[in-house]
């Protein structure tokens, strides 16, 4: 609404409107100041629009995959650190005294199940044939089941030291070094175990700061039936709104 005393402008008032009972409304667009001055405000607004668009474009282009900070250059591992005193890696073998024995269903003097030393019988008996199969054993060892490929008793056990293990070339190896025996056939697992990729560990990844504990093969694999025993898994996630999976599959 214009004050009649005001100087007149030919600029169309964007809000000028005809309503019920309202006053006169100016409708003519005579071009006027806006048209004459023309481009200056338009250029400013166009420039603002271009600047915005350009900023958007540049920034979005900059949002591509960005390289992580130069991690390697400033963060190299120094061999000197490895030369520092290393803690030991202890290989635990589960449950055994270090020597084999035959477990019998009788309590020993310590109160545990008695373990009869192998030599008790085997120094008296004739040495079993290397091809002796467990099924053919008639005395003692009768509860034993061997599910280990085509192996026989003599594959791993033999004269003269039945309380130790015997390699294929006849040398003895102590049960604590059973990896050497298993590794004769399972070379890749032995190699993986050696490099920490099989069999797990506890303790420190950084041996300069603490020790580590490993296990022998027999800690997890029963040598007579080495297939890893299945187990019931720990409970699964109890997420909100997630039920058990339906069995439908896509075609």
């Amino acid at each position: 609404m214009k004050d009649p005393g005001e100087s007149r402008t030919s600029e169309p008032d964007p809000l000028a409107h005809r309503s019920r009972g309202a006053g006169p409304v100016r409708r003519a667009d005579r071009g006027g100041r806006w048209a004459r001055r023309g481009s200056a405000p338009a250029a400013a607004s166009a420039g603002a629009a271009w600047a915005l668009g350009l900023t958007l474009a540049v920034a979005i282009a900059a949002c591509g995959p960005h390289e992580p900070p130069a991690l390697v250059a400033a963060n190299t591992w120094s061999p000197a650190a490895a030369g520092a005193a290393q803690h030991e890696v202890v290989v635990r073998h589960a449950g055994q005294s270090g020597r084999l024995g035959l477990e019998v269903a009788a309590r020993g003097p310590s109160g545990d199940w008695a373990r009869v030393p192998c030599a008790t019988c085997h120094t008296l008996l004739a040495p079993p044939s290397p091809a002796q199969r467990v099924a053919g054993v008639s005395e003692f060892h009768t509860g034993l089941r061997l599910r280990h490929g085509e192996l026989t008793c003599g594959s791993c056990h033999g004269a003269p030291d039945y309380a130790a293990l015997r390699l294929a070339d006849g040398r003895d190896v102590q049960p604590a070094d059973v990896m050497t025996l298993c590794g004769q056939c399972h070379g890749s697992q032995r190699r993986d175990w050696e490099h920490g990729a099989h069999g797990g560990m506890r303790g420190h990844w950084d041996l300069t700061r603490g020790p580590r504990e490993r296990q022998t093969c027999t800690a997890c694999h029963d040598p007579h039936a080495p297939a890893f025993v299945g187990m019931n898994p720990a409970p699964g996630p109890r997420d909100r709104f997630q039920g058990p999976r339906t069995e439908e599959h896509h075609d």
Binding site: M1, K2, L15, H17, R20, G53, D239, R240
Partner: protein, 442 residues
Amino acid sequence: MNPTKPTPVHATPHRVSYPAFLWRLASLATDGKLPFYAWMTLLTALTLVGANAWAHQVAGGMHVTGMSDHVSWGLYIANFTFMVGVAAGGVLMVIPAYLYRDKKMHDVVIFGELVAVAAIVMALAFVVVDLGRPDRFWHMLPGIGRFNWPVSMLTWDVIVLNGYLFLNLHILGYLLYTRFLGKPPDPRWYKPFVILSIVWAISIHTVTAFLYSGLGGRPFWNTALLAPRFLASAFVSGPAFLILMLYAIRRFTPFKVEDGPIHTLVKIVRVTAILNVFLLLSEVFTAFYTGGTHSASATYLFFGLHGHDALVPWIWTAIALNVTAAILFLGRRALTHPLVLGAACVMTFVGVWIEKGMGLITPAFVPSTMHELVEYAPSLAEWKITVGIWALGLMVLTVAIKVAIPVLTGQVTYTGAPAPARADAPEPAAAAARAEEAGMSR
């Protein structure tokens, strides 16, 4: 309209007239007839229910919502996305008015900006209620907190949405204030901003689309077509709402809305509604022709996946609404029968709300990035908060229209009462007598 000759307004400093302007707006906003009070009371009640539900959500944790680690965005972000579109579309009228010099559109441009303001307020509210720790809001303030700009698209969104809000508030405020003063507005103070608001309106929805389309882990969103789809649907839902609002203004206020602007809006929507459907078809083709795991989310949305099909009826309803509305808009009766046009507007508004709200957000999370199927349904708390924010937005819009129309029509202007210290000040008793008469005549 002004029976007395007013004091020349250029003599009154702004520090006097501007507070008078604000005070006048405040009194206009709180005064009306019974339907106005009833409407505002209803909206206030709904807002309070929503506020209370939000307070419980903040205090007790977001487990009151239906969201989970699999579907971690839901109704709030869906509504946020939709409201950004409405805000962008609200300014659509500016383009014909200013770029194409459509004089008739000038009359109603301001209503588009009012819708934009209300929609942005709603969008910002939806983001705030979606935060797990709204008390840490200050962490986002540049300079005070840490603002991960320009890498994080969410920071772009913060900038453009708040900028858009202030842009529109400035344009509205300036135009209404000069109208109130009875002065013609100086083009240098609003025209550049109006042109900027056109670009900015496109940018707000583009940035919002980029929020989603940049995520490589979500193939449903990771498409170049997302920003064009957003803009197409914004330019459908915005004008549809504007048409309905203009009808309401025509019906409930003394402001006379001519057919010209409405017809221009219909002509715009005729194109954008078809474009919206076309872009959707383009996405559907790409997803289903190629197939594979990449289209699992689209399969879930349109046909259900492994027996989970909660969204299927919704999306097909949305498609039916959008297509029907597009056909209705194309017909001649859209320009001649307000009921037909109104129905088409309602249908497409609801259709876009479904398709760009839940129909866009939820499927990106189903199946999850590890292809687990966990569905999502909003909880009662989420609905309460959502309805509360809608009520808040409608309150803002109602108040904005309520104060804008009297100023626009020139029924409310500043008469430039001089400061009491001046020699020609009217007698306080006479001023009180006039005030009493004015108050009693309401």
